[in-house]
Amino acid sequence: MSDDVTTAAFGAWVRRFAELVAQERDHLTELDSAIGDADHGTNLDRGMKAAVAALDEQQPSSAGPLLTKVGMTLVSTVGGASGPLYGTLFLRMGSTLGDVPVTTPEQVATAFRAGLEGVVARGKAQADDKTMYDALAPALDALEAALSDGLGLGDALTRARASAEAGRDATIPMLARKGRASYLGERSVGHQDPGATSVTLLIAAAADALG
């Protein structure tokens, strides 16, 4: 099946995400200075660089172990809340996919859904809390809808990216109810959430590398 995703494609996704995070690092940090502790870009860039280095050193030959390796690296190198949160996302995706050489688009969507559930179990965020959830959840809904409408993975991920971007933009007027931003109360209104911004880059990277 031409739409099946190889292990190499997952590796390319991780590398593409790292690239986007490095490019947007200052922007992410700037967003996080407005409503956080000003380290989201720095932390995630450090974590993703470490994840890529780990894959460069030894890239597992199947998707599950690859994503698990990325998750464990992030847990130990990011430092802030994105460590446990992105770490859990990748760990859940990894354990869902398992030790297989290729995955179908449906399996990819199922893995993403498991990843989101892991993020929710870890961070306990809900819709409109002004977090990464507000971009990731709409993206996965769009991915699943597109696949069940018969679209190929590439087109489905393009739709997912558009939904992530819309979800990210929708965080601007939200009042933060989670994380450091929640300490700011009303002052968090009018600022784009850094977590929603970075997770949109994750979906964008997926559209580039997995589709």
């Binding site: 380290d39 460590g83 446990p84």
Partner: protein
């Protein structure tokens, strides 16, 4: 790898320096008693952050049959600790870990004292959770919702009274010394500040003893029941006579005359079994 008895404690903080300093403060309260405490803090010596894998290793290091209490500072420290529980390979360890909502500095002090006295992990966690009571009591009205002392005297009660000789009163260090003295004894011991009327509080709970507000010169009643009630009161009075081993202070003997026989410790009539308590020769 599991160690011996006693509750282990893990401190999870964004800052390694902060965790080490909190540990140093708490260690002052232990007076040589050993407690297994590990820190999982910072990504390195200077970089702020937490790492769930570090937390997992720390839990495994201090784990024992009595389990572990984990203290965390804020935000991602909690997420990392929760993730650490998921990463533990042995489900038996996970079952005996408690994540405490206590503040890290005050919580570690009372948790370490409780653990050093042989408290169970749920007792250690309760102590840690109540760690702010002393400060709250000092600053305002004592916490009305604080747990009632459930004490029904078992057998005869033994009562003694001491005057606080320490210049700064019964503050954290002498209080910890007192708590250490009575924990491990087979007796239910309470303290009442006769001067202010505060109490009774259980003498085995550092967080509750901290609410007595016992200043220099205040008279404190120690009341004990149980098989080692006698020893408990004798130990406390002897300790009070030594200003709770606060070495910077000159010990002041309480007013009991060593050879004059029983002396009324308070005006009025006392009814009950009489125990004669002599000041132990120094």
């Amino acid at each position: 790898m599991t160690s011996g008895p006693g509750v282990g404690i893990v401190v999870v903080s964004h800052s390694r320096a902060l965790a080490r300093a909190a540990l140093a403060l708490a260690s002052e309260m232990l007076h040589g008693r050993r407690v297994r405490i590990e820190i999982a803090a910072g990504l390195d010596e200077t970089t702020f952050g937490t790492d769930a894998v570090q937390v997992k290793h720390a839990i495994e290091k201090v784990d024992g049959p009595d389990g572990v209490v984990v203290l965390m500072d804020l935000g991602s420290a909690v997420l990392s600790a929760e993730l650490a529980l998921d990463l533990l390979e042995d489900p038996a360890i996970r079952e005996r870990v408690i994540l405490s909502s206590a503040p890290i500095v005050e919580g570690l002090v009372v948790a370490a004292v409780a653990a050093s006295g042989g408290a169970s992990r749920s007792e250690v966690a309760t102590e840690a959770r109540n760690a702010l009571l002393g400060k709250a009591a000092h600053l305002s009205v004592p916490d009305q919702d604080a747990a009632e002392v459930a004490s029904t005297p078992v057998g005869d009660e033994v009562v003694g009274v001491f005057a606080v000789a320490n210049r700064h009163g019964l503050h954290a260090r002498p209080a910890a010394r007192l708590v250490g003295e009575v924990s491990g004894l087979d007796a239910a011991v309470t303290l009442t500040n006769l001067t202010t009327g505060t109490g009774p509080v259980p003498a085995a709970s550092l967080s509750r003893v901290a609410t007595l507000g016992a200043q220099e010169g205040h008279r404190v009643e120690v009341r004990a029941s149980g098989p080692q009630a006698q020893e408990a009161v004798e130990h406390v009075l002897a300790l009070a006579a030594r200003s709770f081993d606060e070495t910077t202070e000159t010990p002041v003997l309480p007013e009991l005359a060593p050879t004059a026989g029983p002396v009324a410790a308070s005006p009025g009539i006392a009814i009950g079994p009489v125990r004669r308590l002599d000041v132990a020769p120094v």
